[in-house]
């Protein structure tokens, strides 16, 4: 195991009578996305502010690369501060500066770059965040989702090694929420910064996290991978996950992965199952990254949303489909054999191919390839969940395909 980048050891913080953090231990590894989840008012933001040094612990210590924050010289502390960005819950954009000036501020104040170099860097961020229309507007003149993206751009522009996100998706609609999360994930993959997220948007946020910590009553009863989270026996964790199981995926309106897995396990364990065959279909949206890149994050999320809604509206009478991962949707077809299922899938494929959103002509300015794969599997005797899903994945074929058309050449 690699050495942790940041370590909180027995950190306690009190505000007056109230103990907000009670001997908190937390470990953060380099290059990971660590998500801290918990109910509101449980001290999540306070925890983040300790990591960046806006607040100091009453007791306990915080270590960076094994070195105590308290014992550092001012110079050392500043050099750490320069590697860290913070995205505030309510964005904390400078409201008397334009969008451009907001993003440029860290560069103007803290680097010796000339104005041209700054402009190039800032414009690159603005293009990536799809903000080019509002460059000269003030924060109060743009929408909440855009403000979030400006804050994200400002956090990224100084190329930090660590970024702390305080509720990056709070107050956004499901589509924008997923847009922000997918942007964070994408940039994290590209620049490999260490991210610490505070959120209560489960399950969406779990799709992009490597590690999860739960904060409850000022303490951290659990930290580990999302997988370990699901298997944990800890009662507080159980309570969290149970709460989650009743939730639906906000973006698509489909069920969550946990819900459908439980359902599948139950279904496969039924003694009378042999008379009642059922099939599953696994949809995968391929090249979502390219859509992010060429058309935009909003379009990419809209495609997921569209596919989810279409499946739900046309085929999901028994509420049996779920968003399985960021770009996968799993559908169960009850009382359906493989043959009938294939028919159903063909119908869906024809329907999908007709949709405007999947026509190359809808994207005249971009060049990218994109496809939706679907794979069928029928539950047979003696199969377990993994092999059933594995089978569906291995049988995946294109049902929608969109190839890059070079408009310049054909015209």
């Amino acid at each position: 195991m690699t050495a942790p980048l940041i370590e909180l050891k027995n950190v306690t913080k009190r505000f007056g009578e109230k103990t907000v953090l009670d001997r908190v231990n937390l470990t953060i590894f380099e290059g990971d996305i660590t998500t801290i989840i918990g109910k509101s008012g449980e001290g999540k933001s306070v925890l983040l502010k300790h990591i960046i040094g806006l607040l100091r612990p009453d007791e306990g210590e915080i270590l960076f690369n094994g070195k105590q924050l308290k014992g550092m010289t001012r110079k050392e502390r500043r050099s750490i501060k320069r590697q860290v960005s913070y995205m505030f819950q309510n964005n904390a954009l400078f409201d008397s500066l334009t969008v451009f000036e907001n993003i440029a501020l860290p560069l103007r104040e803290k680097t010796r770059l000339d104005e041209d170099a700054i402009r190039i860097k800032v414009m690159a961020q603005i293009d990536q965040m799809e903000l080019s229309e509002v460059t000269d507007k003030y924060p109060s003149q743009i929408s909440g989702g855009m403000q979030k993206r400006v804050a994200l751009a400002r956090a990224l522009v100084s190329e930090p090694k660590i970024i702390l996100f305080d509720e990056p998706t709070a107050g956004l609609d499901p589509l924008r929420k997923n847009v922000v999360l997918s942007m964070i994930a994408r940039h994290q993959k590209k620049i490999r910064f260490t991210a610490i997220l505070v959120s209560h948007d489960i399950p969406d946020v779990l799709f992009i996290s490597n590690r999860v910590a739960i904060i409850d009553d000022g303490r951290i009863p659990f930290q580990g991978t999302p997988m370990e989270l699901e298997q944990s026996e800890n009662p507080v964790v159980q309570q969290f996950i149970k709460g989650q199981a009743s939730l639906k995926d906000e973006l698509t309106g489909l069920n969550t992965r946990r819900y459908i897995e439980n359902m599948l396990i139950q279904e496969m364990g039924r003694p009378d199952r042999l008379q009642e065959s059922f099939s599953i279909v696994m949809f995968t949206i391929e090249n979502l990254e390219q859509i992010n890149e060429h058309i935009g994050h909003i379009a990419a999320q809209q495609i997921i949303q569209f596919l989810g809604t279409l499946i739900k509206d046309h085929f999901d009478t028994a509420d049996t489909s779920a968003r399985y991962s960021q770009n996968e949707i799993l559908m169960i077809l009850p009382h359906t054999g493989l043959k009938k299922a294939k028919q159903v899938l063909d119908e869906l494929a024809t329907d999908l191919q007709k949709q405007e959103i999947f026509q190359a002509e809808s994207y005249p300015k971009a060049c990218f390839s994109f496809s939706i794969l679907a794979g069928l599997a029928e539950a047979g005797p003696g199969m377990d969940l993994d092999s059933l899903i594995g089978q569906a994945l291995s049988h995946q074929k294109n049902i929608v395909h969109l190839e890059c058309i070079k408009h310049g050449e054909t015209a």
Binding site: I52, L54, R78, K81, R82, V84, S85, Y86, F88, N90, A92, L93, F94, D95, S96, L105, P106, E109, K110, S158
Partner: protein, 268 residues
């Protein structure tokens, strides 16, 4: 018995607590100023930000200073004339108007007008930045908020106050001329001629010293009140900003007048 003594001493202990709190606050303001003043000279110098503040505090206040200066001079001319005419010495009206403006009214009235116009907005702007976490955001970017927000305002005040005071004095003397010469018929030559020999360099120097000191007081107190909006007891959020603005204006007005007395007694 003990209770009775307690109730006798209660007002005194309250007074003592209040005085200590007041002195503590003054000390904190002084430290705040020294901090901000030292950061003025840290490189790179914040020239463009300072110029923006000079524009905001100085250039944009010119109109109001002209207006207030003109009427102050005019009323001085009127009042002075009716008092002086009783002694038959209305000839010295020019000197009376010029001296009272340069020595007293110019710096004080200018400071009060800038407090009302720019000081209140300094406190409110910085206060809003505090409550919306913009100051925290600066800190996380390793930008010193005092250097970024307060230092340029102090420099800008040091530049603007003396210049605005000078404008106030000149327009005030013109106002006195309007009411004394044009309305009440004093000889124009006598009015102007009496000014030059009666106003000494010492008066002008005192005027500028006052303007500098008032500039420091106003900028420091208004920035301080805004900067520590979140530490105020009894008001959070927008309420906190409104309290901060109010106390910035009240405290700087009172201090300007108190310090004016102290300075005058030293300069005389």
């Amino acid at each position: 018995m003990a209770q009775a003594t307690n109730s006798i001493f209660a007002p005194f202990s309250r007074l003592g607590k209040l005085s200590i709190a007041f002195l503590g606050e003054l000390g904190a303001i002084a430290i705040f100023f020294i901090h901000a003043f030292a950061l003025i000279f840290s490189l790179p110098l914040q020239v463009s930000k300072t110029m923006q503040q000079v524009f905001f505090i100085g250039a944009k206040s010119i109109l109001i200073i002209l207006l207030v200066g003109l009427f102050t001079g005019m009323v001085l001319g009127l009042q002075g004339y009716y008092t002086l005419v009783k002694f038959g010495s209305e000839g010295v009206l020019g000197a009376v108007v010029a001296l009272s403006l340069i020595r007293e009214l110019g710096p004080v009235m200018t400071a009060l007008m800038i407090i009302a116009r720019a000081g209140s907005s300094m406190a409110a702007e910085i206060g809003i930045m505090r409550i919306s976490e913009q100051i925290d955001a600066l800190e996380t970017m390793d930008i010193n908020p005092i250097r970024f927000l307060v230092s340029p305002r102090i420099v800008a005040s040091l530049i603007s106050f003396p210049l605005l005071t000078a404008i106030f004095n000149v327009i005030g003397i013109v106002g006195g001329y309007l009411s004394g010469v044009c309305l009440l018929g004093i000889n124009s030559g006598i009015y102007l001629n009496r000014i030059e020999p009666n106003v000494a360099m010492q008066d002008v120097r005192g005027c500028f010293i006052k303007a500098f000191v008032f500039g420091i007081i106003v900028a420091t107190i208004c920035c301080y009140q805004g900067y520590f909006t979140h530490m105020r007891p009894g008001g959070f959020g927008a309420k906190g900003v409104s309290l901060a603005t109010t106390s910035a204006v009240v405290l700087s007005c009172v201090l300007v007048l108190v310090v004016d007395y102290v300075l005058t007694s030293f300069l005389l």
